[in-house]
Symmetry: C2
Subunit: 193 residues, 2 copies
DNA sequence: ACCTGAACACCGTTCAAGT
DNA sequence: ACCTGAACACCGTTCAAGT
């Protein structure tokens, strides 16, 4: 009697690969922030010992790199691509802030928090900032500003966004989501008249 | 032969009190940020074992509370008091940004970074934000804005400041100190015309 | 190829025992 | 009153040994 080989992947493979760890890591990042991307707890949740981890990754930092790369692809690239499609510059700016402000920016803030300790996070934030400032600056130029002025305004705009996100997270800004949204619009109206 | 009792405090007392730990903690905070306020390294630098620490404090968190309180008294209260003395509102605003931007805001940024993990830090930042926004708002009112408008502008202004501090720290903002100062002035001129 | 198990280093916390 | 010393829990990292 010959047994048919199983053609569908087993529900829970006994052996893991890099992919499994990365998935679990991203999940942990979304639930508990950068600190939650930790070897021992992850190993526990995968039903395996810590030693197993080090066959797939050289260090916890390497895992974090991979996890952040994934996060960036999903949560940053997609969003920016969608924005580029909006032609009216003012409307595009509005959409950038709308998107950024609506869903709780928890992961973003968690990344801000971790930037100091984690070089990998620093790099992600740097890219994120550069790209968003570029989107903002382009919209400003299309709205009629000089390149230098556009860059200044865009930078301030992004800085204010970062600051508002931070303040909302740590409770320095006690405002309802509605008030926050109004403040964002106010910011745009003030900086890009 | 009777020995004279020593009237000056010994250079290194064999026994420590709360004060010694707080001092060492503040020093550590300034050198290495919130994470550096750690029991074991501190004990080591004080030439004592970890067990000693727990006679003076209930936990590492309690130490951090005390250290932050001290930091706030020295680095926040003093500065704000000095500002209140400037009568011209525009000049006062300029001075607030000057002071905040000139000396590297490293501790401030470190606090921003730690807010997520450390409730004590959150409280400090909350107070700091409230007070600075109040100073900004008052200056705006004195410059002729309505109270509501003043509050909005002040909040945006502070948010931009927080964001700029953060971005400078993590390298998202690659600008010279001179450029940063110019940007700060630009911010003020834009938000408080 | 992937994993276990035990080791070591590091930090937070507790506590009985010392002075 | 203040401190030691040893214990325990937790996480990161290494590595010889298993399948």
């Amino acid at each position: 009697m010959t047994v048919q080989p199983c053609t569908v992947p087993a529900v829970s493979a006994e052996r893991l690969d890099r992919e499994d760890w990365l998935e679990a890591g991203l999940d942990a990042l979304e639930r508990g922030g950068v600190e939650a991307v930790a070897v021992v707890p992850l190993a526990r949740s995968l039903g395996v010992t810590r030693g197993s981890f080090y066959w797939h990754f050289g260090s916890r930092g390497e895992l974090l790199d991979g996890v952040l790369e994934r996060w960036e692809r999903v949560h940053s690239d997609e969003v920016l691509d969608a924005l580029q499609a909006i032609e009216d510059p003012r409307r595009r700016l509005g959409a950038l802030f709308e998107r950024s402000a609506s869903k709780p920016p928890s992961i973003f803030v968690r990344l801000l928090d971790a930037a100091d300790r984690e070089p990998a996070v620093k790099a992600v934030l740097e890219r994120s900032a550069r790209r968003r400032i570029e989107v903002l600056a382009q919209a400003c130029r299309e709205a009629g500003m000089s390149p230098a002025e556009a860059r200044r305004r865009a930078t301030l705009c992004y800085a204010a966004y970062v600051g508002l996100a931070r303040m909302t997270a740590d409770g320095s800004l006690d405002m309802s989501p509605r008030e926050r949204a109004a403040l964002s619009r106010h910011l745009l109206a003030t900086l890009v008249p």
